[in-house]
Symmetry: C2
Subunit: 357 residues, 2 copies
Amino acid sequence: MAQSKQIGKQSIQFAHPPFIRGAASVVGKKEGEGPYGKYFDVIEEDPMLGQDSWEGAEGTLQEKAAKLAIEHSGCQKSDIRYIVAGDLLGQLMASSFGLITLELPMFGVYGACSTMGESLAVASMIAEGGFADNVLALTSSHFASAEKQFRFPLGYANQRNKSSTWTVTGSGAVVVSAASDIAEEDTPEKSLPKSAVEERNKVHIVGITTGKIIDFGVKDSMNMGACMAPAAGDVIVQHFKDFGHSPEQYDKIITGDLGLVGKDILIDIVRAKGYDISENYMDCGIEIYGEEQNVQSGGSGCGCSATMLTGYVLKMLESRQWKRVLFVPTGAMLSQVSFNEGNSVPGIAHAVLLERR
Amino acid sequence: MAQSKQIGKQSIQFAHPPFIRGAASVVGKKEGEGPYGKYFDVIEEDPMLGQDSWEGAEGTLQEKAAKLAIEHSGCQKSDIRYIVAGDLLGQLMASSFGLITLELPMFGVYGACSTMGESLAVASMIAEGGFADNVLALTSSHFASAEKQFRFPLGYANQRNKSSTWTVTGSGAVVVSAASDIAEEDTPEKSLPKSAVEERNKVHIVGITTGKIIDFGVKDSMNMGACMAPAAGDVIVQHFKDFGHSPEQYDKIITGDLGLVGKDILIDIVRAKGYDISENYMDCGIEIYGEEQNVQSGGSGCGCSATMLTGYVLKMLESRQWKRVLFVPTGAMLSQVSFNEGNSVPGIAHAVLLERR
C-alpha cells in the first residue's frame, strides 16, 4: 500500500486522501441575513440559543453542528471514533462543555481562528493513518462570547475601529472519513456499490501544509488582519513550494478572516515571493457579511472559516463548480492577558488542500 | 506492512510503536526541593525565568524544555517536523509565545492537565502514520500564572483548602520518533547499527486510549481530584477492556494530578468495575512534593505529569526497573468564566501505554 508523502518542509500529500463524508453549518441571525445566508443549514434567531450564558450559547452551536454533520454523513454517533474540536475561549469552553453529550473520545485543539484548519489537518492524519474510520472535526465562535473574552463587554458599547472585524456567530462541523479501497480503484462507476460512488463524489482532503507561529511585532488587537497576513503568506508560499504548484492551478485560495486590511497585505507578501494570487483569492471574512451590515473590516473568528467551508465552499466543490481549493484558516495568537501585558499578536495559518475529482 | 489496530471502543494498538528519542524536564525551585529533585534536568531558581510576566516565564520553561529535549534526542531543530504543544492558560499563551523561536509547524492542543497525554497521543499517531520522522510533544504549567488564571492573584494571599492542589512550575518535552524497520526486525543486536540498538533501548509508545469528557457534576474548583477521578477511572477501565489487560500486567499505572482526595475516589471507581489498581497505582501529583512542603492535596497542572514523565518515569523504564507503564494525565475542564457562571467541572484523561522491551 502506498504511503503518504512528507513533501517539502511543511506538507503532507496523502496517498489515500480522506474525504468529507458529511458537513453542517449553524449560524446566527446576522450571518443568516448576509449574502451567504441561503447556504447555511441552520440560522439561529436567538443569540442565546436558549442558554443562560454566551459561552453556553456557543457550546450549543457546536453541539448542534456536530449532531447535524453526523446526520448528514449518514453515520451514527457510534461510528465516530474521535472528535477534534476547539474554539477561541479560554480553556476551550465551548468545545469542553458543548460536546459532553456526544460522549466521544476528544482531542481539544487551539489555533486561534485557524482552528478549523488545524482540526481538519489532525482529523485527516488520524483517518488516513488508519487510526479511525470517521473523525468529527469542528469549531465555533460567537460574537458576544468573543467580545467578552477579548475586547469589552457588549454593555460597554465601545466604538469599533475601521480595521476591526466582527466575530462570526456560528459553528461548522465535518465528518472526515478514511478512503475505502474500492472507491479508490479504477473500477468504472456502474460496477461500484452506491456507497463507493458517493465517496468518489465527495470532497477529498488531498494534502495539508501546517503553519508556524509568525510574529511581525504588530500590537494592535483591533487590526488582526495585519497580524495574520504574514502567517497566511508564509504557509501559502510554502504550500506552493512543497507541492510544486502555482496559483492558477487552484480555483480558489481561501483565507479565514484577514478582512479588507489583511487581504491587501497578504497579496503583496505573496507577490513579493513570486506568486500572484490576486485573481483567485477569496477571504471568508470579507465575504460573509454584506457591505450594508456595518462590520468594518469583515467577519472573523473560528466560526467564520468553518461556516463558510461547510456552508458554501464544500457545496461549490461538490457541485464541481470548483475542483481544487486551498483552504487556509488564519489565526491571531492573542489573549486578553498577553495583549494587556503589551505583547505583540503573532499569527498562524493552516492550509488544507481540497479537491473534487 | 502491518497496520495499526483500532481496538475496542477507544484504543489504538500501534503496529510499529513510535519511540521517545529524547526527553527533558525543566522545573521550578519548589519542585527541585521535592523528593524527585535529583531526577529533573534543570531546576530554575528564578520563578520569573528572567521574564517580566508569569506567562512569559511559563513560555520560557517550554522553550527551554523543547530545546533540551531536541538536544537530548540527538536531533537538530530541522529534524523536527511538528510541534504538538499546549498549556493551561487562555489561548495557550505559554506555547503560543514560548515556542515562536523554534520556527516549526505547530499544532496547539488543550486537554487541561491531561494535555501531555493528548500531545503524546497526537504525536504518536503523526509519527506512526508516516507523517513525520520526529515530533516534539510538550506542555507546561506555572504556579503563579495558574493562580492568576484560575484562582486569585498571589498578592491576595488567600487561604488554601485541604483538597486544593499546588500547580507545578515546570515543563516536560519529548521527541517522539517513528520506528525504523531495522530496529523492529529480529536481527541480533550485535549485527545492528548503533542507532538501531539505541532505538530498541528507548521507551516505546505501544498504544493509546483516548478519553471522553466526563461530568459528574462536581462544582468545587478547589477539589479537582474529585472532578477528574471519574474521567481517569473511565479511561483506565476502557483501556483494560480494549487491550484485554489486567492491572497486574503493569509495573505502574500513573495518573497526572488526582492528589490524595482523587486517588481514593479513583481506586474505588475502578474497583467497582472489577479491577484492582491499588497495588501498582501512583499519582504524579502526590509524588512530586514532600509532606513538609505544605501543598495540601498534592501537585497539579500540565507540568506535573509532564515533568514526572520526563524526569522520572522514562528513566525508570529506560533502566528496565519498569517494563510497562500506563501513563494517564488527568484534566479538569475548568475556566474562570465557567466556574464563575456556576458550571460544574468536567474531567478528561488520556492514557498512553509505554513499554521498554
